[in-house]
């Protein structure tokens, strides 16, 4: 197993190299904006633009730029400086990362608990009123765009602009180090909004899996042993039904760690997602690279985590 993990980690490094190269080439060949011009102010002296271009290293061929970038990255863990406002990319990204992590982890816990809970009850009480209502609501939650759901949530529940003021409104996020209580309450509504569609997906997924699993032979054996129905469902049924959920959840969490753009936007949570979006619009290549690499890193690592977890869940799976 250790050898397997090491091999996979080496692949992670290869993959990240590949991602960085592709990103670089894309934004070099098809840049969305010219950062030198954007920074040069109004009606710039061509010499000013040329100077800025030189300062940013943009006058060198793309492979030289890439090599310099990778050298700084690998040797000094330096992601460069933003073309837009010269901020240290690494500093800004790691500054924003805790917010995204807070948002993701909380939402993940919520959607897993809710999704598995609702999915189980629905599967066990198939075709009951609860089942129909739950699956119907799930369909709505999956279809509703996150941004719209966020706005709706604010206009109903936010303390400052909502009709039923319960939760803190947008822009109330503070880091946990500043005030754990404020941090927690400011994230409640975003967690709910972000978790909504995921919980719905997982509820439906678990329901389908569990129904299938409950018709397996070993469930019949468990019942034949005289175990309580509760034990049959939880110990035998859910244990099997949950494996695809683990895979899916791991990947979803990996993606979310790269930034939940819409949720971060509507609630004004200073995370990676919004940063990525803004930097793409401005053609800010170092920032784009930074956020893309970070996102890729999370997805690839979560992939590995999920695969390893699978080996612990299902003893038939053995990596060599």
């Amino acid at each position: 197993m250790a050898k397997y993990i090491i091999r996979r980690l080496l692949w992670v490094i290869v993959l990240l190299f590949l991602v960085s190269l592709i990103t670089f080439v894309i934004f070099y060949l098809l840049p969305s904006a010219d950062p030198a011009t954007l920074r040069a102010g109004r009606q710039p002296n061509p010499a000013v633009v040329a100077q800025i271009r030189h300062n940013l290293g943009l006058d060198k061929p793309w492979y030289t730029q890439y090599f310099n970038y990778m050298k700084a990255l690998v040797l000094h863990f330096n992601f460069g400086y933003s073309y837009t406002n010269n901020v240290n990319v690494r500093t800004l990204i790691f500054d924003r990362l805790p917010a995204t992590i807070s948002l993701t982890v909380g939402a993940a816990i919520l959607f897993l608990v809710l999704g598995i809970g609702v999915g189980t009850i629905s599967a066990v009480r198939r075709r009951s009123k609860f089942d129909r209502a739950a699956m119907g609501t799930a369909l709505v939650a999956i279809s509703a765009p996150v941004y719209w759901l966020g706005l709706l949530a604010l206009f109903v529940f936010a303390k400052d602009i909502g009709k039923v003021p319960i939760f803190p409104g947008a822009s109330s996020y503070v880091p946990i180090s500043q005030s754990p209580t404020k941090w927690f309450t400011s994230l409640l509504l975003p967690w709910i909004v972000l978790a909504a569609s995921f919980a719905a997906i997982y509820a439906r997924l678990l329901r389908a899996n569990l129904i299938e699993v409950m018709s397996e032979d070993y469930i019949r054996t468990a019942r034949a042993k005289g175990l309580s129905e509760r034990r049959v469902i939880y110990h035998h049924g859910i244990r099997s039904a949950i494996t695809p959920i683990v895979t899916a959840a791991g990947l979803d969490i990996g993606v979310l760690l790269g930034g939940a753009i819409l949720t971060e936007t509507v609630f004004n949570i200073p995370g990676i997602g919004r940063l990525a979006y803004d930097s793409i619009l401005a053609g800010d290549l170092p920032m784009i690279q930074g956020t893309v690499l970070l996102g890729a890193f999370f997805i690839v690592i979560m992939n590995l985590v999920v695969d390893v977890a699978y080996a612990f869940i299902d003893p038939r799976v053995r990596y060599s």
Binding site: R42, N45, N55, V87, L92, I161, P270, L281
Partner: protein, 592 residues
């Protein structure tokens, strides 16, 4: 000042209600004030400004050029040679004690520096000296500072570099014979210096050389993070000599507190009512608008107006008093590239101007409530506006006579341009527009309106930054029509409106503002002459004449003079600042 990269709303109506603080600052020199009633300004309290974008781009005074930089940092935290009060339409002495003392035919300008203006900690015991302003101006020529206007306005100072330098240069034409005297000499008379509009820009914010020089080395200056402040406010926690993250976080937060070193009696411009001013960035425009209108102690920031639905509802309800709408001093126009056939034909351009339904275009941005249909290039509140035709415009420009457009007239111009049927028969014209609403809606309206005289477009919508830096500002891209453009002034002088857009030698390979690529020798000479006029009245006339010619030639189709829509919570008294496009003057605003 450069308008920030955002779409501006348009405001019309005769209701230009500019509310000014009652206990206003001292009267300024010649000013055309726009005042209405006054409300009692409360001293003290905290206010929060909600911003949609990332806030200021840099903390360095030498870099500031955008509307947001001026509102958030320039006016509240720094003083310059000259400044603007909310009432002033021409520069008011701030660190200078009077208007420039001219000699040598206007080529030598002498300034006396006001005594007793202290810096903030850690230089609290020091006062502003002339040498500090000299250094500040000089560093604006350095590549590491990245200033965007020094080479436009200070290029005629004796000894000024012709291109950015790697280190801060020494400019012989700027001298400080003693601590309280500053002398600038120019090669020819420069109108924007003699009427010191260009000296109200932040390059004249004083910066002590011995303190700042160590930050100005290297490829990028870091002075911004270590600056000392001269204004009524400073960045929270910066007294240590470094701006802490509790005072500033890029894109998220800027916190201002009172500057203990500021002495009110030395400052004729800024009342400074609030105790603290906090800027929060990254907000969603819909949510922020709602928060401002329903909350307390909030003001709108860098977004030009709330979303149309909220604006409409606000103006028709009791929230109306929370809005302040005033001309931004800017316009919206459609650039026609005169190097792309058949846009080189003036009659073809006039046909385009005639067919466009400017009322309909205005509707795409929210309707009559947000703008005045333009009849010539210069917007209101700019010198020369009246002479150029005022609101009604020149009747000789029949293509602008009907704000709803005139298809028959357009067709007659088409015939004059060589299309006998009155319909265009040539190849499609490359058109690049902003892809974000409402600009995208405007562009689509233009497209369908041009279709009435058979003009087909190769129509593309791209992000704003792309539209400018890769297409419309790049002559090589050969874009025929750029329909979603706007322009704002740098100061109350029409030179900054006309020269960048229509002066031939200003055409550059990238970042080109002269998108119509106008290069008419007679016009160029006329502009050069106008630049050198030192008398304000003469300048107004000269630029008005240029406006007339430009409008008649339809190098661009100007369709709107737009307005700034500011809004705030019920307990806030917002004062708008005409110099900065009627964005807030936070040193004059207060709680009620």
């Amino acid at each position: 000042m450069r308008r920030y990269l955002r779409s501006l709303p348009l405001l019309a109506t005769a209701v230009a209600s500019v509310v000014i603080a009652g206990c206003g600052g001292s009267s300024s020199s010649s000013s055309s004030s726009t005042s209405t009633g006054s409300t009692a300004a409360k001293n003290g309290g905290a206010v929060t400004v909600l911003e949609v974008g990332g806030g200021v781009l840099s903390l360095d005074p030498g870099y500031w050029y955008y509307q947001t930089d001026y509102t958030d940092l320039y006016q509240p935290t720094q003083r310059a040679l000259y400044g603007f009060t909310p009432q002033a339409a021409s520069p008011v002495p701030d660190l200078a004690t009077s208007q420039p003392i001219l000699s040598n035919g206007g080529k030598t300008l002498t300034f006396h520096i006001r005594p007793g203006v202290h810096y903030s900690a850690p230089l609290a015991s020091r006062t502003v000296a002339a040498a500090d302003i000299k250094y500040a101006m000089e560093r604006c020529f350095a590549a590491g500072v990245g200033n965007g206007y020094a080479f436009s306005y200070f290029n005629r100072i004796v000894g000024a570099p012709s291109k950015p330098t790697t280190t801060v240069p020494s400019v012989s034409g700027i001298t400080a014979p003693n601590a309280s005297t500053l002398v600038i000499t120019t090669t020819v008379p420069v109108g924007v210096l003699t009427v010191p509009n260009a000296l109200a820009l932040p390059c004249t914010v004083p910066i002590p050389q011995d303190y700042a020089a160590k930050y100005d080395t290297g490829a990028q200056s870091t002075y911004g993070m270590h600056q000392v402040f001269t204004g009524p406010y400073m960045i929270s926690g910066a007294g240590t000599g470094t701006v802490p993250s509790s005072g500033y976080q890029t894109g998220k937060l800027l916190a201002l507190v009172r500057n203990p070193s500021w002495v009110k009696s030395t400052d004729p411009i800024r009342p400074a009512h609030f105790d603290t001013i906090t800027f929060k960035g990254g907000n969603d425009i819909t949510v922020a608008s709602q928060q401002i209108l329903s909350g307390q102690s909030l003001m709108s920031g860098d977004f030009a107006a709330p979303p149309p639905a909220i604006l409409k509802q606000g103006l028709t309800s009791s929230q109306k008093s929370q809005f302040q709408i005033a001309p931004s001093g800017g316009n919206r126009y459609i650039a026609l590239n005169t190097t792309v056939k058949p846009l080189d034909n003036v009659n073809f351009r006039r046909a385009i101007a005639a067919v466009l339904n400017r009322n309909a275009l205005r509707l795409t941005r929210g309707g009559p409530a947000i703008g005045t249909v333009a009849t010539h290039f210069l917007p209101p509140q700019n010198p020369g506006f009246q002479q150029a035709g005022g609101t009604a415009g020149d009747p000789a420009n029949d293509f602008y006579a009907n704000p709803n457009g005139n298809v028959a007239l357009a067709e007659s111009y088409m015939k004059k341009a060589g299309y006998p049927t009155g319909q265009y028969t040539g190849p499609p014209l490359l058109t690049i527009a902003d892809n974000e609403p409402p600009a995208a809606n405007t562009a689509q309206a233009v497209q369908s309106q041009l279709g009435q005289i058979g003009i087909k477009l190769t129509f593309r919508e791209v992000p704003h930054a792309t539209m400018l830096s890769k297409y419309c500002e790049v002559p090589k891209a050969a874009v025929a029509i750029c329909p979603t453009l706007g322009w704002g002034r740098d100061f109350f002088d029409s030179q900054s409106f006309i020269t960048p857009l229509f002066y031939g030698p200003n055409i550059i390979p990238s970042g080109n503002s002269n998108m119509s690529q106008v290069n008419v020798p007679a016009l160029n000479t006329q502009m050069q002459a106008a630049e050198q006029l030192t008398d304000a009245t003469q300048r107004a006339s000269a630029w008005a004449n240029l406006d007339k010619e430009i409008t008649s030639q339809v190098y661009v189709v100007t369709w709107l003079w737009d307005n700034e829509v500011g809004f705030h919570s019920t307990n806030v008294n917002g004062v708008q600042w005409p110099f900065n496009g009627n964005d807030w003057d936070l040193t004059a605003s207060s709680l009620k």
